[in-house]
Symmetry: C2
């Protein structure tokens, strides 16, 4: 099958996605993301705008030696030649060619009003800019895709120019013309007729590129495919300017799982959750829990009613099997959950509570009470397990007694200088003796962690292998219904020597107190896992 | 016009929305949210499930005296009578009636498989449960809506039962039958035919209730409306289980702005952004910046290219006027922004930099450099303005010199007891004298804030009117491309006596250091705004 007949999955995370508020990628980040996109099995990776962005020029340069793509083809994005300049003389067009990317994607204005107002030239020159640049790059041996910017608004404004644009692009040698809803305001019913008209009015292979300003980016993309488009563009995690681009994984998962189209290469869709989260680690943008398919909440069931039904048959409340996209079903322990959820959660952690209704009720009540005080167990399985054990055994296991702790942070000089010192003093009783230790760190929490560990290492040498690997802070309301008394909630993830991790939660009037609680539980749970007998 | 002919906007934030992971509302929260929903002008507010949820029973009780709704009608949600019990004898049905809500919305299974597997009864009894409960509540003087749970999957599985369900509901007196895509996996093309079939097969007024598991909740809702549904359900901010419910504001904004339907009462859509953010303050779920229409990024333009075009005409890159939904256009200052964005931002803040290209370039470079170190100015206009002034004036204005600061947090006892003490010592030079002050607080940041203010109040009495009103923390990567050295970034919002606020940013190796920087800038900016002359 020639490439033109193939359905093309085209990712623009590194270019359009990078226009998201809060996103700033280094070249190393972009190379790392490109590798993940290749793992996912997309057909094309739009790497950036070489020439216009020095960082992107560097990306394409380094990609030649550092990026080994197994599935995807690299594409360089840029604009057509400027008005009044020959394509061969335009330095930005040269940069596209010099990027060595096999594909060049040219964005050009297919909306007559934009040609006149934004480019400030006439329509004939607008088409010539397109024709000349496509022709030039084809002659230079590049495959050329064209992004028809503002296409749908442009078609409404001047359908003749818009159609002529598509024809000129195709006739000049563009392999695909992607119709872009650049402002994102299109609704699905408006799109279908336009795509049909364009397919009738030209011989071009059509692509679709949508934004989510009306909340319909995915639906618009699917509608275009149904109307005959054979090339879809989107970004991972829906990154992009304003409300973002169409979420590429959602599009592909819908088409693969519900329309039975095989679109990704390699292992494909089962990589989706891992890749989506890996990329969010690189972008440092917190993953959106409610994201379709790959979000941590996408298959998380909270209502007690749902949990009861799921005990009968998971399909009763799920639209697809989460494992198809590499995700899991999760049962949330929360105040809304009934005994069914708590019991199932206990089983997930290895405890069979089915025989003891009284225990399950008591545990459920404690969870609800603590959540009302700001705790969350949804992301802190280790804290939940300690609580469960406490209810099972009638008292909380303890490996040490804390006599006192104290932490101080010191600075000399003005606000914009550095060199703060954080020092903690921790006094505990463990292993039949009293230990007092000092901890130092780059901040109060690190200092407390160091101090607590130092104080306990004689009694519990296994602690030397533990490491604090993640730390999340959130200001929460006290939940007492009046809105007063904000609390701080901290989630700490700790790892052992084998790299296995567990997460604990702490709540307090300030970050230090909350962190301390989470730290104590983190070390306690680590000792539990390691099979170390509790004290007394 | 009788109510049946009206297009109905039905909000279920307080019931279905409350099933979102991380959301826990008190009764006071629910009453407050209901008032905001009423401000928005929705037709119906589903307040909860009285009887099943003690909190919701309380909500409906208190609503009778504490909730004065100008536009919306309250609805109580619940299930039909249990199998084998008379409606009049079922305590949960009684609770619905006793809630005194004018509307009762009954959820019942319209999917034959669910009737058999989850309810474990036969289809005849399934329909009888529906018929009896609707009839009973109508006889008790309530308006009745019916949510046909799992309708679309049920129609595919057993279309006869699904259609019979709708007929029975309508014939028993239900005013609306809302077809629910409970598992959320429906795609828009699949939905339209079903809605047509149901409209042809029954006389019921149809509603639509969608979830976002396939990323198509809004589009599905719009498709149903186009196919003839006249009642839409959704939640504010798309809250809900798993991937959430259809976002009600997005639905209504699309229908009002693009289909010219007038749906909301009162001032309507212009309240949308304010209401959406006010509700997220109550739920304490951070607002989603990329949310269509009301998100803080929804009309935020970053690409230098877009900023240049917007200088020409805002409509060139916006699908609608943000003021229609009470939102604003924002130009983001970021490394991607060119000089155009920085210049426009400066103008937004009242500085005309158009005459000084060198200055604008220098300021742009500083912004990029600082953002590479973890700062963000997108949400910290006050810090940006201080930076701008520094570039304009050649040096940073300063109202005080910091000699030193120190903060300590002390605790006695075990982790799960309370009573920590936070104390700060701050030494500054201001107003020609040296001041050393102590600050105490419930945490280190509060203590430092108190200490700094105490030290400065002799020189600057206006500080007494300032108050720290919001505080956000985030662990960020150092941005040096290697992934080492996590930093803490803090955003502090301060208000003056008139309630006007400004936000500053601080970055440091730990939360204390980052907070100190943001605090110093917060007070400095406050003094700038108050017109207090800088020192020396």
């Amino acid at each position: 099958m020639s490439p033109v007949d193939d359905f093309q999955v085209y990712d623009t995370t590194l270019r359009d996605g990078a226009q998201q508020e809060g996103l700033a990628l280094t070249v190393a980040d972009k190379l790392a993301i490109a590798r993940h996109l290749d793992d996912l099995g997309v057909g094309f990776i739009e790497g950036g705008w070489p020439g216009a962005s020095p960082k992107d020029t560097e990306f394409f340069r380094r990609a030649q030696t550092e990026l080994e793509l197994r599935h995807a083809t690299l594409a360089a994005f840029g604009s057509t030649r400027r008005a009044g300049v020959r394509a061969a003389d335009d330095p930005l067009v040269a940069a596209l060619r010099d990027s060595q990317a096999p594909v060049v994607t040219l964005v050009a204005k297919s909306h007559a009003l934009h040609v006149e107002k934004a480019l400030r030239t006439d329509l004939a020159e607008g088409l010539a800019m397109l024709r000349d640049t496509v022709t030039h790059l084809r002659a230079e041996g590049r495959r050329v895709f064209v992004d028809a910017e503002h296409f749908f608004d442009g078609y409404r404004y001047d359908p003749q120019y818009a159609l002529e644009f598509v024809r000129v692009a195709a006739e000049s040698g563009a392999e695909v013309v992607a119709l872009c809803d650049t402002n994102g305001g299109l609704l699905p019913d408006e799109l279908t007729d336009t795509v049909h008209a364009v397919l009738q009015g030209s011989a071009a292979k059509l692509g679709i590129h949508c934004h989510n300003d009306a909340g319909c980016a995915v639906a618009n993309t699917l509608a275009a495919v149904e109307a005959g488009a054979t090339h879809v563009q989107g970004t991972l995690n829906g990154y992009g300017e304003r409300t973002g681009n169409a979420d590429l994984v959602t599009i592909v998962a819908n088409l693969e799982l519900k329309k039975r189209m095989k679109l990704l290469q390699g292992t494909g869709l089962v990589e989706a959750t891992r890749v989506a989260h890996a990329v969010s680690e690189i972008t440092n943008i917190p993953p959106y829990a409610r994201q379709p398919y790959v979000g941590s909440s996408a298959f998380a069931h909270k209502a007690g009613l749902h949990a009861s039904a799921i005990k009968v048959d998971p399909d009763l409340y799920q639209h697809t099997d989460p494992s198809y996209v590499g995700n899991d079903m999760r049962l949330l322990v929360s105040e809304m959950a009934g005994r069914a959820s708590v019991e199932l959660k206990g089983r997930e952690l290895g405890y069979d509570l089915s025989g003891d209704r009284v225990l399950v009720t008591r545990l459920t009540d404690r969870v609800k009470a603590m959540e009302a005080q700001g705790y969350t167990f949804e992301a802190a399985d280790a804290s939940f397990e300690l609580l469960l054990l406490e209810e099972v055994e009638g008292r909380r296991r303890s490996w040490f007694d804390v006599e006192s702790w104290r932490v101080a942070v010191d600075s000399r000089g003005n606000a914009h200088s550095e060199a703060v010192v954080a020092e903690a003093t921790v006094k505990v009783h463990a292993g039949g003796a009293r230990h007092a230790a000092i901890g130092e760190g780059n901040g109060p929490v690190n200092a407390l962690d160091a101090g607590l560990r130092q104080a306990l290492r004689t009694a519990y040498p296994v602690l030397d292998g533990f490491e604090l690997v993640d730390y999340k802070v959130r200001i929460v309301d006290a939940g007492n219904g009046t809105g007063t008394g904000a609390l701080t909630r901290v989630l700490i993830t700790t790892s052992d020597e084998r790299g296995e991790t567990w997460t604990t939660v702490g709540v307090g009037a300030n970050i230090i107190q909350a962190s301390w609680e989470a730290l104590v539980d983190a070390l306690s749970f680590g000792l539990l896992r390691a099979g170390v007998p509790a004290a007394g």
